[in-house]
């Protein structure tokens, strides 16, 4: 498969792994956070951890929008779905995420009109095709998916479509990184920067991490070779005592991002004064809401939303895992009370959450596979 297989060639992967082992200084421990859930998933799926020496540790960051969405927001969104002639539309990612009284899929099983859509534009199509019903798109995602929600809202406005709204949960990546970096127990040495988000916002927004916090950032693609190469680039900087923002994902990410996408977000969204993140608490200016010029399409303004607050269960240690202080399996609840089927904490919710990834793909106990290679 083109643009995939080139970045999965075993001999190149082996070389990159060797280079990492060569660069990793024996007397140092490197703690690197991969910010994006897509990276976390790829690291587990391709078994990349096994290629790293013990002193290069990967810590899974906050970049899974499903995981960090507070349960109260899901409750609020689903509370609207009980109305007559109402269609609740969301990405497949959201469908199994539990609210207090069940997930969107469970609501659907109880007879509510819950639809899986593949893009906000599909939700708009639903509204056009069902003029007698109201269609609400439950929007989630970082700056990756926010532009398509913005463009959809611009289209809805241009068409004067009245039976469509957005329940906006779009969040912004850099304030979350600031919350992690500013935490007193911060242990990280560098960051594998998010790939998809950066296609929109570019590399400039991470500059402060290098300049103020003195930590290197390498914006990375999602294939095994991308991720390993980004780790090589980070180790080189760390060994040289440097802290710069570098772009490994040049084939997709432009330094200045995508100006058209940024303009669309700016037309439709403004920053909320603060927003709650599961596992991290309230973070100032970390999420988008619709501007007043789009109030008509804003589900939160159009309908009465209960404003449910659900505190994270005390026993779940999502915050510590998110900041890299604890590994997933070190959480008190991991794999016992908290599993992907019955998640208690945020990070077990989506397959890109670090706990779910560790549960699904991680080792139960260390296993050597050298004999497998020999058996081939």
């Amino acid at each position: 498969m083109k643009f995939v297989d080139e970045f999965r060639a075993p001999e190149l992967i082996a070389k990159a792994g060797e280079e990492i082992r060569r660069l990793a200084a024996a007397n140092r421990h490197y703690r690197i956070m991969e910010v994006c859930g897509g990276h976390t998933h790829a690291i587990y799926r391709f078994g990349l951890k096994d290629l790293l020496p013990e002193n290069v540790e990967l810590i899974h960051g906050p970049g899974c929008p499903v995981c960090v969405l507070p349960m109260g927001r899901i409750d609020d969104g689903l509370s609207l779905a009980a109305q007559e002639n109402f269609i609740f539309a969301a990405f497949g990612d959201m469908m199994r995420v539990p609210g207090t009284h069940g997930s969107p899929l469970e609501y659907k099983a109880r007879g509510m009109d819950v639809r899986i859509v593949y893009s906000p534009a599909d939700a708009l199509k639903l509204a056009r095709n069902n003029p007698e019903k109201h269609v609400m798109f439950f929007a989630i995602g970082f700056e990756t998916t926010a532009p398509s929600t913005a463009l959809t809202l611009m289209r809805a406005k241009a068409e004067g479509l009245k039976n469509f709204s957005v329940f906006c949960n779009h969040i912004v990546i850099t304030p979350a990184l600031r919350a992690i970096i500013d935490a007193p127990d911060m242990v990280l040495d560098g960051f594998v920067g998010p790939g998809h988000v950066s296609t929109v916002i570019g590399c400039q927004p991470y500059q402060w991490i290098a300049e103020e916090a003195g930590k290197p950032v390498v914006v990375s693609g999602f294939e095994p070779l991308d991720i390993l190469q980004s780790i090589v680039m980070l180790l080189r900087q760390l060994n040289a005592g440097e802290a710069r923002v570098e772009n490994q994902y040049k084939r997709v990410v432009a330094w200045e991002g995508n100006p058209a996408a940024i303009r669309a977000m700016d037309e439709v969204f403004e920053l909320r004064s603060e927003f709650e993140w599961r596992g991290l608490g309230f973070i100032p200016q970390s999420a988008y809401q619709l501007r007043s010029s789009y109030a008509q399409w804003d589900a939160e303004q159009r309908f009465t939303v209960p404003g449910v607050r659900v505190t994270d269960p005390k026993a779940a240690q999502c915050g510590e895992v998110l900041r890299g202080v604890l590994k997933p399996a070190q959480c008190r609840l991991f794999g016992r009370e908290c599993t992907p089927e019955q998640p208690v904490g945020a990070l077990m919710v989506s397959s890109e959450g670090s706990c779910a990834a560790h549960y699904n793909y991680g080792h139960l106990k260390p296993i050597t596979i050298s004999s497998a290679a020999a058996a081939r």
Binding site: M1, R8, F46, M95, I116, F142, L364
Partner: protein
Amino acid sequence: MHDENNMATAARKIKFRETQIEMAHGAGGKASRRLVEGLFAPLLYGASQGPLADAAHIQINGTRVAVTTDSFVVKPLRFPGGSIGELAINGTVNDLAVSGAKAEAIVVTFILEAGLPTDILEAEVRAMGQAAERAGVVIAGGDTKVVEHGHADGMYITTAGIGRPLPGVEISPRSVRVGDKVLLSGPIGDHGITILLARGDLDLEAELQSDTRSVLPLVQALVRDAGAGVRWMRDPTRGGVATSLNELARDCGLGIVLFEEKIPIRDGVRGACELLGLDPLHIANEGQFLAIVGAEHAEAALSALHNTPGGEAAVVIGEVREQPESAVLVATLYGGTRMVDMLVGDPLPRIC
């Protein structure tokens, strides 16, 4: 005597604690297993009877027969490479085949939605007749129910099949040993991805067809040439290869190690899975099967499949190990490893 039995059933405890049935309970993964093992099995099936399989082998007057039942619920009714009628026959034949039996007769129940055009029904009945002829099985009877318009998605089909055990083979997860090889009959994921794309919600296209077919000729060739070494077989339908092998791993307590580079997957399936964030190992198949074969019989087994039409792509994809206990591990292309669990619920596309 009757009363005692009823009391025994009434006193049995169930482990199933969920308050309502969700779609996931029918998706063939973990939730399905919880329902079957937690509710159906304790109430209807004695614990002494061993692991649950695709078909049951029972004794009638000293003669062993294999029985199975299956229901077919698919949207859309027709899809590239097949349709619900063909699927119903092939699926039933395959469930019997992987239990080590040749399907002899099938009975069919149609649940039809009022308003279903007759030509659609006719096409499906014809498709069933043709599939039955190809598989050498008799359709011995049936039943029809009609439900109100708005139910049953056009039609549901339920079948029951009876089969004659193939001589020279004994299928049981308990006979699986360390060192046995994992055989796969051909490329995976074709059916599941074809259906996903045929629903038309995705605006994705690929040159793909459902793989629906009878695997009986392949199973017969395998049993003929390597029967003594065949320990276990399964057709990895809902939940895919990962779910079937996890069930085996749990039933035999051993580890299954798969070599990623050996697993045949067509580009169209791979591409769709990449785009949608799905794992091909979790995608349904309707015309492939897995077999665990003793190492010393692996070569004979492979050449038996290779020499049978439709078995050319058969391949050894892994082997049985002591570790990881009761779990499935994939050795990736790069010498890394990952665990592969059963499917949890329906596979849902990831977008954000």
